[in-house]
Assembly symmetry: C2
Homo-oligomer: 159 residues x 2
């Protein structure tokens, strides 16, 4: 089965390479950027204002070839790639909950951006706490690693 996706827009951010890019949106406090949605998809944005956060799904276009075992940014131990958010995954799809600041036409102004400049956008979904927020969910190795882990990437998963 061949399944094809197509960009619906492009992400603009201050980050030109993996090194120094925030690992996660939650670690990207001051990072603002824009999402430029292609004009053909403009109607799909109706009523997106009103949401504090949105999910961006995007293509890790500058990630290394997939690995099944990775040592993620946050830890010095190897883990299965599906137990990490590392970009070098079999289907290189990234997912970030960014803050939506405002919408001007097809341009979404966003904050907490942890995405490389020029990244192809695949989808936008509204962030809905009832669907998405599980504050007390146990998070395996991350629960140990997060307090002392790094917050910004290096080039270990770069192309």
């Amino acid at each position: 089965m061949n399944l094809e996706v197509k960009p619906i827009g492009i992400v603009r951010s201050p980050f030109k390479e993996a090194s120094g890019t925030p690992i996660q949106a939650s670690m990207a406090e001051g990072a603002v950027g824009t999402v430029e949605v292609f004009g053909a998809f403009a109607d799909g944005l109706k009523d997106l204002d009103g949401f504090d956060r949105i999910w961006l799904l995007y293509w890790f276009d500058r990630a290394a070839v997939p690995r099944l075992i990775v040592t993620p940014y946050l830890d010095d131990q190897p883990h299965g790639v599906f137990a990490t958010r590392a970009p070098a995954r079999p289907n290189p799809i990234g997912m970030s909950a960014v803050r939506l600041l405002r919408i001007e036409g097809c341009t979404l102004h966003v904050a907490h951006v942890d995405i490389l400049d020029g990244t192809p956008l695949l989808d936008i979904k509204p962030y809905v706490p009832t669907f998405d927020a599980f504050s007390n969910s146990r998070a395996g190795w991350c629960d140990q690693a997060l307090p002392s882990g790094r917050t910004h990437a290096d080039d270990r998963f770069a192309l």
Copy 2:
């Protein structure tokens, strides 16, 4: 730019058709199923146990052709598709935070499943509250619609 994804496994659930399927994982309390990860990707599951919840990314293989304006299950008003979680989207990628009950080899036993039986799996990511949980995020039209909205799908987005 052509971007191709490939299934890394398949989702098994009690739901054979859209009608009657829970709209969201959070509304799928009693629904259990399995995720059958293909053997070639087995190593990627290392350390996934330890997470209470996991994100499943999957292909809406039985969704209707994309629409930019949709009237979602939860509401009687039309909204832009990117302001909804409706399956009839330009890139038909679904995303659910399901409960991980246990792992046996390449089989993940999961609960809170809102996914059709036989759905192609694209990715598994760990659910990490620091990255994913924003309980107080304002959710636009959903904040009004959720209390009285339906919890199970009908066939409006079915192929």
